[in-house]
C-alpha cells in the first residue's frame, strides 16, 4: 500500500483516533487526541467520520512526501505549513499530489497541529483503536506505541475532492489569548476548605514544563488538600491535588485509577484549549454548571457526528 513517507518526524508526532475505550477496567488508558476540537475539525474538513485516524504533531517540524494523489487537512497550532515551498492557509483542506512535499515549521501559536488525510491513515487496530499510547507501548503505525520516525510510511488511499474548504474564522481559536478554563465542581471539592477552593479560582496559575499527555501540571502557590482517599476510577479532565498542593489535570493518556483528592473536572472543551498552551502560559479557572457543560458538549458531538 502506498501513502505518505516521513522525511522528518518532528519532536513528537503521534497517530491518534477517537481513543481506546472499553478497557479501562484492565488498566488501559484511552489515549486519543489531546485537542479534541482541532482534531474534530481536521476530520470534518475532509468529511471523515469522528475519530478517523490522524496525526497529532507536537510543535511542528514534520516533513512528509506523498506517493499518491490525495487531500489533507491541517488544523490546531499555527505551524507555517508549506507545500513544495508555497504557504498553505491555516485550518483548511488542500490537495497533495504524488511527489509533493509537505513541510511544517515551528509552532508559532499553539502546541499541537492536527494533520488528517481523506479516508484516514491505516494502522493495525489494538483493542479497538490505533491511538498511540507511549507509556503502555500500544498503537501507532507498528502497534508498539512509538512516535513517527523518519522513513515511516503512513498508508492511505488516493482520494479526489472537488474544492478547497476552510474552517470559518470564528471557530479558529486564538491560542495566544490568556486561557480562561471552566471547571465542573464535585468530587472531593466539599472536602477542601472554602478558602482553598476560592484560592484555586482566584489565583493565577502557570502550566508547568513537566506536563505531558498524561497530565497537565500547574505551577503556583500550593493549595492545602484534604487527605487521600481509597483509589477510584478517574477520568480525563479530573483536577487532582496531591499532597504537595500543586494541581494536576488529567489528559488523554491518564491512568485509569487514582487516589488523590479531586477538586473538580475541567470542561471537556476547555481541555482542548489547555492542550494548546505552551509551558508557563497563564491559566485562570472559573466554575461552570454541570448541565451547561453537558449541553455544550452534546452540541459539539452532534455537530461533528460523534
Amino acid at each position: 500500500m502506498s501513502g505518505l513517507r516521513v522525511l522528518k518526524p518532528g519532536p513528537q508526532s503521534l497517530l491518534q483516533d477517537g481513543g481506546r475505550f472499553g478497557w479501562q477496567h484492565l488498566g488501559v488508558s484511552p489515549a486519543g487526541p489531546l485537542d479534541l476540537h482541532a482534531a474534530a475539525w481536521a476530520n470534518h474538513l475532509l468529511d471523515n467520520p469522528w475519530g478517523t485516524p490522524l496525526l497529532e504533531v507536537a510543535l511542528g517540524y514534520l516533513e512528509l512526501e506523498s506517493e499518491l494523489d490525495t487531500w489533507l487537512a491541517l488544523t490546531g497550532a499555527q505551524v507555517a505549513a508549506t507545500l513544495d515551498g508555497a504557504p498553505l492557509p491555516p485550518w483548511s483542506r488542500f490537495p497533495l499530489r504524488a511527489g509533493q512535499r509537505l513541510k511544517l515549521g515551528f509552532a508559532r501559536s499553539g502546541q499541537r497541529a492536527y494533520l488528517a488525510v481523506a479516508g484516514g491513515f491505516r494502522a493495525p487496530s489494538l483493542l479497538g483503536s490505533v491511538s498511540t499510547q507511549l507509556r503502555e507501548g500500544l498503537g501507532g503505525g507498528d502497534g508498539l506505541g512509538r512516535p513517527l520516525r523518519a522513513g515511516d510510511l503512513l498508508p492511505c488511499r488516493p482520494v479526489n475532492l472537488a474544492r478547497a474548504a476552510s474552517v470559518p474564522w470564528p471557530y479558529q481559536p486564538d491560542y495566544r489569548a490568556p486561557a480562561q478554563l471552566r471547571v465542573i465542581g464535585g468530587g472531593a471539592a466539599a472536602g477542601f476548605a472554602a478558602d482553598q477552593l476560592q484560592a484555586f479560582f482566584e489565583r493565577s496559575w502557570q502550566l508547568s514544563p513537566q506536563s505531558d499527555r498524561m497530565g497537565a501540571r500547574l505551577l503556583g502557590e500550593p493549595l492545602v488538600a484534604p487527605p487521600q482517599q481509597w483509589s477510584q476510577g478517574v477520568g480525563r479532565g479530573a483536577i487532582q491535588v496531591p499532597p504537595d498542593g500543586r494541581p494536576i489535570i488529567l489528559q488523554a493518556d491518564h491512568q485509569t485509577m487514582g487516589g488523590y483528592p479531586i477538586l473538580g473536572w475541567l470542561h471537556p472543551l476547555d481541555q482542548a484549549r489547555l492542550a494548546q498552551c505552551p509551558a508557563h502560559h497563564e491559566l485562570r479557572f472559573s466554575p461552570v454548571d454541570l448541565g451547561e457543560a453537558q449541553a455544550e458538549l452534546r452540541g459539539f458531538y452532534r455537530f461533528f457526528g460523534r
Binding site: L127, E136, G137, L138, V234, T256
Partner: protein
C-alpha cells in the same frame, strides 16, 4: 452509605462503602457484570475499585441523572443477593522466588527467606482493583508479617513479570515500569497481552494463589531472562 456522585460531564461514580472489606471486591465485580448486562450500550467504560465503580457514560445517549434513576431501584436488590460461597475464579500463578529484594525483605521482616516464600505462597489473595498499568492487579491481603512500606527510592525500571509486595498488597508487574515495591520473584506468564482475548486473565473479585517453582520450571514455562 451508598451514593452516586457526578464525576465531570461524562462519568458517574458509584460509592458503595467508605472502607474496603474482604467481600467487597467480589460484590463490586458482580455488580459491574449486572450493570454491563443491563446498561452496557450506554457506557464507554466501567472501572471497579475497592470501594466503588466509576461509570464512564456516553453523553450522546444518557447522562448522570438518567443512569442514577435507572440504577437506584436495582441496586438494593443486587446488593442483597447472596454471594456465591467461593466466588471469583481461582488462578494458580507460578512464581520463581528469586527477586532482587527477597533477602532484604526477609531481613526487614525478621524471617528466613524460606519463611517469606511460605507466608507469601500460602495465602489466597483476591483481586481488589486493576489499574496503574494495563493488567496490573492489586491483590490483598498480604500476610501482616510481610507488610513493609514502599522503598525509599523507587526503581526506575522494574522488570516485566516481577512479583512484588508493599504494605498489605502484592502484585505482578505485567510490563517493565518504574516502581517502588519490594521484588520477591518472577512470573513466567504474560499477564497482559493485547493479542489474547481477554488481554488480561484476571478480573476484580478473582482469587489468586502463587505456586513456588524452581528456575528450571520457570524457564520451561517460557520465563524470560
Amino acid at each position: 452509605m451508598m451514593r452516586f456522585e457526578p464525576a465531570g460531564a461524562e462519568a458517574l461514580l458509584l460509592v458503595l462503602a467508605e472502607q474496603p472489606d474482604a467481600q467487597l471486591p467480589l460484590r463490586i465485580a458482580l455488580l459491574a457484570e449486572r450493570i454491563r448486562a443491563e446498561l452496557g450500550p450506554l457506557l464507554r467504560d466501567l472501572v471497579p475499585s475497592w470501594t466503588g465503580l466509576l461509570l464512564h457514560y456516553d453523553l450522546t445517549r444518557t447522562d448522570h441523572r438518567q443512569l442514577a434513576e435507572r440504577l437506584s431501584p436495582l441496586l438494593p436488590r443486587w446488593l442483597a443477593e447472596p454471594l456465591p460461597a467461593e466466588g471469583g475464579r481461582l488462578h494458580q500463578i507460578p512464581i520463581w522466588y528469586a527477586g532482587a529484594d527477597l533477602a532484604e525483605v526477609a531481613r526487614l521482616c525478621r524471617l528466613s527467606v524460606e519463611q517469606v516464600i511460605e507466608l507469601h505462597s500460602s495465602t489466597e489473595y483476591r483481586v481488589g482493583a486493576i489499574g496503574f498499568a494495563p493488567g496490573f492487579a492489586y491483590l490483598g491481603d498480604l500476610h501482616e508479617r510481610l507488610a513493609l512500606p514502599r522503598r525509599s527510592t523507587p526503581r526506575t525500571r522494574v522488570p516485566a513479570g516481577s512479583l512484588a509486595i508493599v504494605e498489605r498488597q502484592t502484585a505482578v508487574y505485567p510490563q517493565a515500569s518504574p516502581g517502588g515495591w519490594h521484588l520477591l520473584g518472577l512470573c513466567p506468564r504474560r499477564l497482559f497481552d493485547v493479542q489474547r482475548e481477554p488481554p488480561c486473565p484476571l478480573v476484580v473479585g478473582d482469587r489468586v494463589r502463587f505456586v513456588a517453582v524452581d528456575e528450571q520450571s520457570f524457564r520451561a514455562e517460557g520465563g524470560p531472562l
